[in-house]
């Protein structure tokens, strides 16, 4: 235990608590020799990520490609079990992503049914929601064509529309706003605001700083699998821009210096259960 830690008591009811989550992927390299599982490489995607998110918060998650954002989202939604640590939530968060696997052989119409059923919706709910899903996807008659004939934009529109149909309490959105043309962007943005109004809390991953500052009231910055900054959008975005600028200019020394400053000021959270007085055991 480190005795230097400050103590904070979280008074409100949290919606999501991420407790010391780490994720290591073991990837098998078949390149060498091609023999049975001989060489394996460990890739650490997340390192001791902890945070507490309350109701009504909309949290933006920023970071470079490969910084571990998508892994964190999958763990949040319970789709990927973390190597260590746990996520606690009031209800299972729903991930609305461009990665949601739909069946390429099936038509869009059949995929709506399958996807909604897989999310646990009842047949009646699906029937009620069906028209609004098709309308949001903007696919028109293409909804009866097989998914494999869709452009990637059409596919992600359909995925967003299907995911948005559940009205979850905790919602995770992965880059959805960046997909599609302007007309669709307006539609999704409207739908997003609607969902934000209904949901208890929202996580949004995006590379677009304007999107995040517009929709979020808290930003978490992940770099190389660690949370290095967690705070109001204005503050995090300021540092993020400074860091990205240093990186883009190729000045690695300056970038490292900025990063050190960011990390130094960051308050690392250690989760304790208020009532049992000790750490919750994982799994």
């Amino acid at each position: 235990m480190d005795g230097t830690a400050d103590v904070d008591i979280y008074q409100d009811e949290p919606a999501v608590v991420i407790d010391d989550v780490s994720m290591t992927f073991r990837t098998r390299s078949t390149k060498k020799g091609g023999r049975l599982g001989n060489s394996s490489v460990d890739v650490q995607a997340l390192k001791n990520v902890s945070m507490v998110v309350g109701r009504g918060e909309s949290v933006g998650i920023m970071g470079k490609n490969g910084s571990g954002k998508s892994t964190l989202l999958k763990i949040l939604a319970g789709q990927l079990p973390p190597t260590s640590g746990s996520v606690y939530a009031t209800s299972t968060p729903i991930l609305l992503g461009v990665n949601a696997a739909l069946m390429p052989e099936l038509s869009g119409d059949q995929n709506i049914w399958l996807g909604c059923l897989a999310m646990g919706m009842t047949k009646k709910r699906i029937r009620d929601k069906y028209d609004s899903i098709v309308e949001l996807s903007g696919l028109g008659d293409a909804i009866y064509l097989p998914m494999k004939s869709y452009s990637s934009g059409m596919g992600s529109r359909l995925r967003f529309a299907i995911g948005a149909a559940v009205n979850p309490e905790i919602l995770i959105i992965d880059e959805a706003l960046n997909a599609g043309d302007d007309q669709f962007k307006d539609k999704t943005k409207k739908k997003m605001h609607e969902l934000l109004g209904q949901a208890g809390c929202v996580f949004l991953v995006s590379h677009s700083i304007p999107t995040i500052t517009e929709l979020c009231n808290r930003v978490i910055w992940i770099d190389a699998g660690e949370v290095i900054r967690d705070g109001p959008p204005a503050d995090v975005v300021k540092w993020y821009r400074m860091y990205m600028k240093a990186l883009a200019s190729g000045d690695r020394l300056a970038a490292a210096k900025v990063r050190r400053r960011i990390v130094r000021d960051h308050q690392r959270v250690i989760i304790e259960d208020r009532f049992s007085g000790r750490r919750k055991l994982t799994s």
């Binding site: 991930l95 646990g120 989760i271 208020r274 799994s283």
Partner: protein
């Protein structure tokens, strides 16, 4: 404190006390009974998924779903040429063609269901990572699909037995076929559940399954009579408790030989089916949290 966090460079730690009482752990495995209930709640997903799989399984082939019947037919023909004509294993078997048809058609039902069941987790990783649903529903869907696509197979089988000489008369025992198929269904599902978890852990096992199934085929008296081993009672005994042999035996007795299958056969098969499904569900459920992980 269990597993103290690795030191993170820089920053300072804030010990935050949170009320975790009202929260539940995301992705936590449900209790076994809750798990069964949630499988039931996802029954529409199972039905829809399996209907789609029946529809699209052969969509790449020109003859489409005709292959559901054509492939056991050709299989049976091959076995007939090799074992019936060349090796003459059918000597002494009454109505060898009927005997072979039942053997090949029914064995293929199990072997297809078990082989594809074993790949259920591996082959559906993207769906598993995209949605939260009880994973056992994937195996249910695969087995329901096999059951649905086997309805025409069973009908073809019966028609062939009725029209190919020597023709057999229909007796009341034809009513014993649905219960036998039901027991076979639960047995397949149970074995599939066990194998799916094992293959998820040891990918290599998937390679072995086709060999195991072939061995099982030979041990199930598909194209020869079990009486061949009358001189080695141990082998005969082992074959007689083989659930797939019992399935074939009960069906042959009912359809070909106008014999009422013994209650011992029924009891053994029922124990196998019930045992497989219970063991399979529990064994599969215990790893429920981990199926989303790659390998």
């Amino acid at each position: 404190m269990s597993g103290a966090p690795a030191p993170v460079p820089g920053g300072h730690a804030v010990r935050t006390y949170v009320d975790l009482k009202s929260l539940h752990r995301v992705g936590a495995r449900q209790g076994f009974l809750d798990y069964l209930v949630s499988i039931w709640r996802y029954r529409h997903f199972v039905l829809y998924d399996s209907r789609f799989r029946v529809g699209s399984a052969n969509s790449q082939e020109k003859l489409g779903n005709a292959w559901i019947i054509l492939s056991p037919l050709l299989n049976g023909l091959t076995f007939f040429l090799i074992f019936g004509l060349l090796l003459n294993t059918g000597k002494g078997i009454e109505n060898f063609i009927g005997f072979l048809i039942i053997g090949v058609f029914l064995f293929q039902m199990s072997s297809r269901a078990i082989t594809s069941g074993a790949q259920a987790i591996r082959g559906n990783k993207t769906v598993i990572q995209a949605f939260n649903f009880p994973r056992a529903t994937l195996l249910a869907a695969i087995n329901v699909r096999e059951l649905l696509s086997n309805i025409p197979v069973v009908i073809t089988m019966m028609v062939m037995i009725l029209i190919l000489p020597p023709t057999e008369a229909i007796t009341w025992r034809i009513l014993l076929i649905p219960p036998v198929l039901a027991l076979q269904f639960f047995f397949n599902l149970g074995v599939g559940l066990v194998l799916a978890r094992l293959v998820h852990h040891f990918n290599d096992l998937g390679q072995l399954i086709s060999f195991a199934m072939r061995l099982w085929l030979y041990a199930s008296a598909v194209f020869f009579s079990i009486d061949r081993f009358a001189s080695v009672p141990v082998i005969q005994r082992i074959m007689e408790v083989n659930p797939l042999f019992i399935v074939l035996d009960i069906t042959r007795d009912s359809l070909l030989y106008a014999t009422t299958p013994s209650w011992e056969s029924w009891a053994t098969l029922a124990v196998w089916a019930l045992g497989a499904i219970v063991v399979g569900l529990v064994f599969f459920w215990r790893e429920e949290e981990k199926y989303g992980r790659d390998s």
